[in-house]
């Protein structure tokens, strides 16, 4: 969908093809439910097809889209075609243009799944504000289906995401929790229509009550088998799998309006650590929507910055929950958050708390003003290195050995099977142990700043140790030189790959070293494989 958006003129036809015509049925469903003369706001109008249909029915339509090219296209398309001119404006779902007396209806199709959960909540609250009492909101979206269809959906989505990654396009998020936001914010569903077995749903939602409220996510579980399973998933996949929890405001203990506010990312392991370290402390925990990425990585990328902070504060209604104006951010989010650039209407004083969540209780208790060194300086200590080594090891195994292993085991099924299992098992153990070995001995190479030098050191070390071990176990064999060279390559490559898991790599340095590293990487690998092949042939000669 993000790809379709790049070309406004073909968006509508492309989208109709993508949804197999369901979007046209959705439009007709909405047009059939509004009555003539209604003041309607369409959010995310695209090229303005639905807006034109509504205007034809005699409604006063205002249509907004965040993409200026789409707005230009929509204006050009709908210039003089309708009796009721449509007011096309550029705008986002978070700031809706107000209307004298309020809108009768707000309409949005296939937009909310492009937005994060917090933005969806802000949209709903803003929509509540600009609508007439009893006004109707019509939304049509891609939903996560219920029941057995969920499995098929998950498989399809996995395939779809793989494809998207190759195209390097943005991702849409089918709505899973959306209906839970409605009641707390001040809406009720009055009608519903589903297509494609519930994957696409249209809802007619009525504004109720005299004040809009805020949605609170259910408490995040940090005890029990389920929690530990998720922790294991986090540790074994690193950040390849994003494991998000719902962003929003959580409570630790029984917080009061005077309790401190801790801001953190919405990666499950991050929240798990914060919540466990805060046991016995009454505090608010505000999880920003960092797309399931930890604080440091998210701050280095675009996922934990001023935008996410402001969004989380607005969506959770923090001003109405607490009586003070102090919020505590993790120190490592400073790489993304910029205090001088926060807008002047941002009401909170931001403090950078300790690096590790385990120091939070002390930080809160002692009311620390200037943090001592252990709260602000990171050290790549032994337990952290071990953890990083394991995570990196599983990453390398998944990257290099998973599919070749499956393939080989299938090929050798029933034919020298045990030999194949042994060889593969040896390969798995070597890769995993090399990774942990590098992680544990990593400080040895502190004197070398560049990762290429570190890689050479570890390559040589791995080759020497492996060579000695091989000589002891099986003596000199024809494949010995090749095995040692391959082990050198493994150490060399794994150290470079480990760079992202350490605390001392700089993007500019790595990007600068990359071309030369890769050239040597291929050469060394080619030499090692040639040596092994020659050795294998040699041993076949009687």
């Amino acid at each position: 969908m993000k790809m379709l958006e790049r070309e406004p003129s073909t968006y509508e036809s492309g989208f109709t093809a993508l949804t197999k015509g369901v979007n046209v049925e959705v439009q007709d469903w909405i047009v059939g439910r509004v009555s003539k003369g209604n003041a309607i706001l369409e959010v995310g109008c695209g090229p303005g097809v639905l807006a034109a249909k509504l205007a034809q029915k005699g409604c006063l339509v205002t249509a907004i889209d965040s993409n200026p090219a789409m707005i230009e296209h929509a204006k050009a398309n709908n210039a003089a075609s309708s009796a009721n001119p449509i007011d096309f404006q550029q705008g986002t779902a978070q700031v809706l243009p107000p209307h004298e007396g309020g809108y009768d209806n707000i309409v949005t199709t296939f937009l909310l799944s492009e937005l994060g959960p917090l933005t969806q909540q802000i949209f709903l609250r803003t929509a509540w504000d600009v609508m007439k009492p009893g006004g109707m909101l019509y939304i049509a979206e891609e939903f996560v289906p219920k029941g057995m269809r969920r499995v098929a959906f998950a498989v399809k989505r996995w395939w779809y995401l793989r494809k998207l990654k190759r195209h390097r396009a943005g991702v849409t998020h089918p709505l899973a929790y959306f209906t839970a936001y409605l009641q707390p914010i001040g809406f009720e569903v009055v009608a519903e229509q589903t297509w494609n077995g519930g994957a696409i749903r249209a809802l007619a939602i009525r504004k109720v009550g005299d004040k809009s409220g805020f949605y609170r996510p259910p408490p995040c579980k940090v005890t029990g088998a389920g929690a530990w399973m998720r922790v294991a998933r986090c540790l074994l996949t690193g950040q390849i799998d994003h494991v998000p929890i719902e962003p929003g405001l959580y409570a630790s203990g029984n917080p009061t309006p005077a309790s401190p506010v801790i801001v953190t990312a919405n990666y499950y392991y991050t929240v798990f650590c914060v919540m466990r370290d805060l046991r016995g402390v009454d505090a608010w925990v505000l999880c920003v929507d960092s797309r399931g990425i930890n604080v440091w990585c998210a701050a280095r990328g675009p996922d934990f910055g001023n935008v996410q902070l402001i969004e989380a504060v607005n969506a959770s209604g923090l001003t109405q929950v607490i009586s003070h104006s102090k919020i505590i951010l993790p120190q490592l989010s400073a790489g993304g958050v910029s205090l001088p650039k926060l807008p002047s209407d941002f009401k909170f004083h931001v403090f950078y708390g300790p690096v590790w969540s385990r120091d939070l209780p002390e930080y809160l208790r002692e009311q620390v003003v200037r943090k001592p060194e252990r709260m602000r300086v990171v050290h790549f200590t032994m337990p952290k290195r071990l953890q990083a080594g394991i995570t990196h090891g599983t990453f390398l195994l998944r990257k290099f050995l998973l599919w070749p292993s499956v393939l080989l085991l299938c090929l050798f099924l029933g034919f020298q099977w045990w030999g194949a299992v042994c060889t593969l098992g040896w390969a798995w153990v070597t890769v995993a142990s090399t990774s942990v070995f590098i992680a544990l001995l990593f400080p040895m190479t502190t004197r070398f700043r560049s990762f290429t030098q570190k890689s050479l050191v570890f390559g040589v070390l791995c080759a020497v140790l492996n060579g000695i071990a091989l000589l002891i176990v099986q003596g000199f064999t024809p494949t010995f030189p090749g095995s040692v060279a391959l082990q050198f390559w493994l150490g060399y490559f794994a150290t470079m790959s480990f760079s992202g898991y350490t605390m001392e790599s700089s993007p500019r340095a790595i990007q600068g070293e990359y071309p030369a590293f890769m050239r040597w990487n291929w050469r060394v690998l080619a030499i090692a494989l040639t040596l092994i092949a020659v050795g294998a042939l040699w041993s076949l000669i009687p």
């Binding site: 996922d303 120190q331 400073a334 910029s338 300086v377 992202g500 993007p507 990007q511 070293e513």
Partner: protein, 118 residues
């Protein structure tokens, strides 16, 4: 105008050491990752507080300076949060891991792939 040019700081005093005249040229020439302009520094200490390695240190004339500049990983925490814009850095994108660098050199887009955090 790119980010570095926007932050270009004209030399304030003609005398003094090289480090007292930080500008983009110097940053590029010396290949330094980060430079603090002492004439703009108000010694608030926020850079020292946000740096994960505690690199900015207080000098005897009550300014902050980075001596161990080799250890800087260019996370930009100090530069983003400096209230007076006294800190100059290269414009860097990426998170400093091999797989990120691989993706960037492959398609030139500023996006990590599935092997990395982003």
């Amino acid at each position: 105008m790119n980010y570095v040019e926007k932050r270009l700081v004209p030399p304030q005093n003609t005398g003094g050491s090289l480090l007292s005249q930080p500008d983009t040229q110097q940053l590029l020439l010396l290949n330094l990752p980060v430079v603090i302009n002492p004439s703009k520094c108000i010694a608030c200490g926020l850079c020292a507080e946000v740096c994960p390695f505690g690199l900015p240190e207080k000098t005897i004339d009550n300014k902050y300076q980075i001596y161990d500049v080799e250890r800087c990983t260019e996370c930009s925490a100090c530069q983003r949060n400096c209230p007076t814009g006294a800190i100059t850095m290269h414009e860097v994108q990426g998170c400093g891991c091999l797989w990120d660098a691989a993706q960037r050199s492959k398609d030139g887009q500023n996006k990590c792939d599935s092997n990395c955090c982003q």
